[in-house]
């Protein structure tokens, strides 16, 4: 049961943070559901996009931060394109994702978070993705050494799997890109 005003009060600080960072006013949403109507990932969500927005409105921010949906959102931005109130729904979910990471909410989709972190670190280090590095790093961290091992033979055959990290020319600039984005988010 949602209890007012307790729910609103409990979620107020986090909600303000999400509104500030995403630049969106959650109260503008009138729950028409258009975001959900063409969401390609909603089949895997625990809450469809319009319900994420509603949960935020009534202060149940922790449910949103801990949701599978916030982690599984593909950032395809279709919802943001279609919203009749011009709300950036994907931006709100993306912000919730970042806030959840910072708040250290570790109970949902732990592997997914880990993978995302490993992926981004990998790209930052090498300038582009080093599949082999990510593969071993992730499998070691998740204690599942042979995860996706079936993909190895075809990748090796196609020479898509390199043990030596790639070297691209403007690695520094990619790194600076990461710094800029981090600076903006901080």
């Amino acid at each position: 049961m949602i209890r007012f005003p307790e729910s609103i009060n409990a979620g107020a600080a986090l909600l303000a943070e999400i509104e500030k960072r995403s630049g969106q006013r959650l109260s503008a949403c009138y729950q028409c559901g258009r975001c959900t109507s063409t969401c390609v990932a909603a089949f895997a969500f625990d809450y469809p996009p319009h319900r994420l927005m509603r949960l935020l409105q009534v202060g149940m921010v922790r449910e949103v931060l801990a949701s599978r949906a916030a982690q599984l959102c593909l950032d395809c931005m279709t919802c943001s394109m279609r919203c009749p109130m011009k709300l950036d729904v994907a931006g709100v979910i993306e912000t919730a994702k970042a806030v959840a990471d910072e708040a250290g909410l570790k109970d949902s989709e732990r592997d997914l978070r880990l993978f995302r972190r490993g992926f981004l670190n990998n790209v930052r280090r090498h300038g582009r993705l080093h599949e082999a590095g990510l593969f071993f790093w992730f499998n070691l961290r998740t204690n599942n050494l042979f995860n996706d091992a079936g993909l190895l033979p075809p990748m090796l055959r196609k020479k898509n799997f390199h043990f030596v990290p790639p070297r691209i020319r403007h690695r520094r600039q990619v790194r600076r890109l990461f710094q800029q984005i981090n600076g903006r988010q901080g």
Binding site: C32, T36, S37, T38, A42, P48, H50, P84
Partner: protein, 651 residues
């Protein structure tokens, strides 16, 4: 002796302005014999307090600091009159809209209010009593637009014995209502209600009907508008045409059928629809072969009445009117631009509710059988999509169309009545059924007719194997929805009628941000437009359904009758006046006057001076500014008054 009244307007003013302090400050101003703060000055006790102060303190002029003069100047003028004073010995100070509502700091707002009152006190010391004149009013009204609003207004005005000219842009009266099949919430047939009224218009002795006609130019003002009406050439003599439609049958040139919302084709020469009033053909030159380089004269040759005249030209008719009713109705929102995910109008079986109305109607292109446009098949699964171009800021249209919920429920009911084994799905966001018996009607659509209501918007519509896939959401079930429909009906929003903005400019009235004509005040003056003598009826003022439209048309008619029944109007005394001893006869004033209100006057000693024609003067004051010797001045706004005001402001 001067009285100052500071209105608290409940808390509207007193929350931000210390009205007591303003009254105390006013009491100390020169010439002020009485100053008080009143809770609601416009109320009965408020007006009584003014009267009492006038009698006790022998006040002869009053300053009232309250709301905008647009709101209550007339109210307080009447109060002064009842208190035995000249109604123009009053000055209103706006400390609400221009002070309390827009300031947050009480100290500053109070200071500003005191300044405004001081300025008015200085100004009113130079006031002199003014007397309004009387002018004859033309006992004829113009109604613009021949839909249900215009028809009702014309009939109601003429019932009081006041002649009416009804101007309609298209070839027939009837408007949007003539296109409807049945009407909510009673499901009576639209034609059965409307067509008898259309006939009554035509047969009425006091109503002059002009179709294919538009307002060209408007001059003059309330009581005496001079209006040019352009009657467009239709190449058909209205007197001779019998409406036999032989011309339409034989005409080889196709043209869009406006009456059937583009669902089928008509001909270049045609009768608008079989129940048209007047029942005459009209020729649309842009589609006619003869007017596009061809040699065809078929209609002229075949017309048994000899009514076709290719040489007919536009005719401009000038008339005088005492009052005008604008009843231009609404237009349909063109959804194809803003909803690319609905197919931009490329899928023939995605139609608008206006088109669906024609499919339902017995007088429509399918004779009342529901046949989908693409292959003529009878649809089984029909999806209705509400709020297309309504409540959608991304399409620039935040407003509610106010009728979509109801007519969609109606169309779902009619679908079931036409095709008993059909299933309707209604995507809605909020079901708005506020009128009398409306909620019961919507419930019936659900319970008795089995329409499935889905709360959520549609995101995408696309064709698949001869059907249309509608992707939406059921926000109540919390899941995505996919429907394979045979036909999709979009409840497109309502817009102002095409050309309404242009007409509003000619009539010198305002439109709001959504393009609909603006009323003076939603509660105090709901059918009055910004220009005196111009009234609004029906959907030209905002989206509304037929019951509300008819009620408003009656209200507008009552206002016209009230205005014109006395035969004369009181004119404002705030007009220019010439001091002949100062006038040099240069006539700069005549050059600048936009209303032609300056005439020559020959004095007894032979000198020629300017003279103001008071019935034409609108009190704009341009002549005052132009007059080199300062001989012409505006009553109520003399140089002396304005300078006194200015000195106080600048002090």
């Amino acid at each position: 002796m001067l009285g100052v009244f500071i209105c608290q307007c409940g808390t509207n003013i007193s929350a931000t302005v210390d009205t007591g302090a303003v009254a105390a400050a006013a009491a100390g101003m020169r010439g002020v014999a009485h100053a008080e703060s009143i809770q609601y000055t416009c109320s009965d006790p408020g007006q009584a307090a003014i009267g009492a102060a006038v009698r006790e303190k022998r006040l002869d002029r009053i300053v009232i600091a309250a709301c905008s003069p647009r709101m209550h100047e007339a109210t307080f003028r009447r109060a002064l009159e009842r208190a035995g004073l000249n109604p123009y010995m009053m000055e209103m100070v706006n400390i609400r809209e221009q002070c309390s509502w827009i300031h947050a700091d009480t100290g500053e707002a109070t200071m500003k209010a005191v300044d405004l009152v001081r300025k008015a006190v200085a100004r009113i010391r130079a006031h002199v009593p003014l007397q309004g004149g009387k002018t004859a009013a033309v006992r004829r009204a113009l109604v613009i637009g021949g839909g249900i609003a215009g028809i009702r207004a014309a009939l109601d005005i003429s019932a009081a014995g006041i002649p009416v000219t009804l101007v309609e842009k298209s070839p027939s009266i009837g408007g949007n209502m003539a296109r409807l099949d049945k009407t909510f919430p009673t499901l009576d047939c639209s034609s059965c209600i409307l067509t008898p009224l259309m006939v009554e218009i035509k047969q009425h002795d006091h109503i002059e009907l002009m179709t294919n006609a538009e307002v060209d130019d408007v001059r003059g003002l309330v009581g005496d508008f001079q209006i040019d009406i352009r009657r467009r050439s239709t190449c058909v003599d209205e007197e001779k045409c019998t409406g036999c439609m032989i011309c339409q049958e034989k005409c080889p040139a196709p043209a869009p059928d406006d009456f059937n919302a583009g669902l089928c084709q008509s001909k270049a020469i045609s009768v608008a629809f079989p129940q048209a009033v007047p029942l005459v053909a009209s020729l649309r030159k842009q589609y006619c072969r003869r007017f596009n380089g061809g040699k065809c004269r078929l209609c002229q040759k075949l017309c048994p009445a000899g009514a076709v005249d290719y040489g007919q030209e536009d005719e401009v008719v000038s008339r005088s009117f005492g009052a005008v009713v604008a009843a231009t109705g609404y237009g349909h929102y063109d959804w194809t631009g803003s909803y690319p995910t609905f197919g931009k109008g490329l899928y023939p079986d995605v139609i608008t509710s206006a088109q669906y109305e024609r499919l339902l109607s017995a007088s429509g292109p399918t004779g009342g059988l529901i046949r989908r446009p693409s292959d003529g098949a009878e649809p089984r699964q029909v999806a209705f999509v509400s709020c297309v171009g309504s409540r959608d800021e991304s399409a620039g249209r935040p407003q509610c169309c106010s009728v979509g919920c109801m007519y969609t429920a109606k169309q779902a009911i009619l679908t079931k009545e036409h095709i008993p084994d059909s299933q309707s799905y209604i995507f809605y966001i909020d079901m708005r059924a506020g009128g009398k018996n409306y909620e019961e009607f919507v419930r019936r659509a659900q319970t008795r007719y089995g329409a499935i209501f889905i709360r959520g918007r549609v995101g995408r519509i696309f064709p698949r194997r001869g059907k249309l896939v509608v992707m939406g959401t059921d926000t109540l079930a919390g899941d995505q929805v996919e429907i394979e429909a045979d036909l999709v009906v979009l409840a497109a929003g309502l817009t102002a009628a095409p050309g309404a903005g242009e007409l509003a400019r000619k009539l010198n009235i305002a439109c709001d941000e959504t393009g609909f004509m603006a009323e003076e005040h939603p509660k105090l003056r709901p059918v009055e437009a910004a220009a005196a003598g111009v009234f609004l009826a029906g959907a030209c003022q905002g989206p509304k359904d037929i019951p509300a439209t008819v009620a408003q048309a009656g209200a507008a008619a009552a206002k016209v009758i009230g205005l014109l029944s006395r035969g004369e109007l009181e004119t404002s005394p705030m007009v220019s006046a010439v001091n002949p001893s100062r006038c040099a006869g240069c006539f700069k004033c005549r050059d600048v006057c936009p209303f032609g209100a300056i005439d020559k006057d020959r004095l007894a000693d032979g000198l020629v001076t300017a003279r103001v024609i008071e019935s034409l003067c609108r009190g704009c004051g341009i002549c005052n500014a132009a007059c080199p010797p300062g001989a012409i001045s505006l009553n109520g706004y003399t140089d002396k008054q304005l300078l006194a005001e200015l000195v106080e402001v600048l002090r």
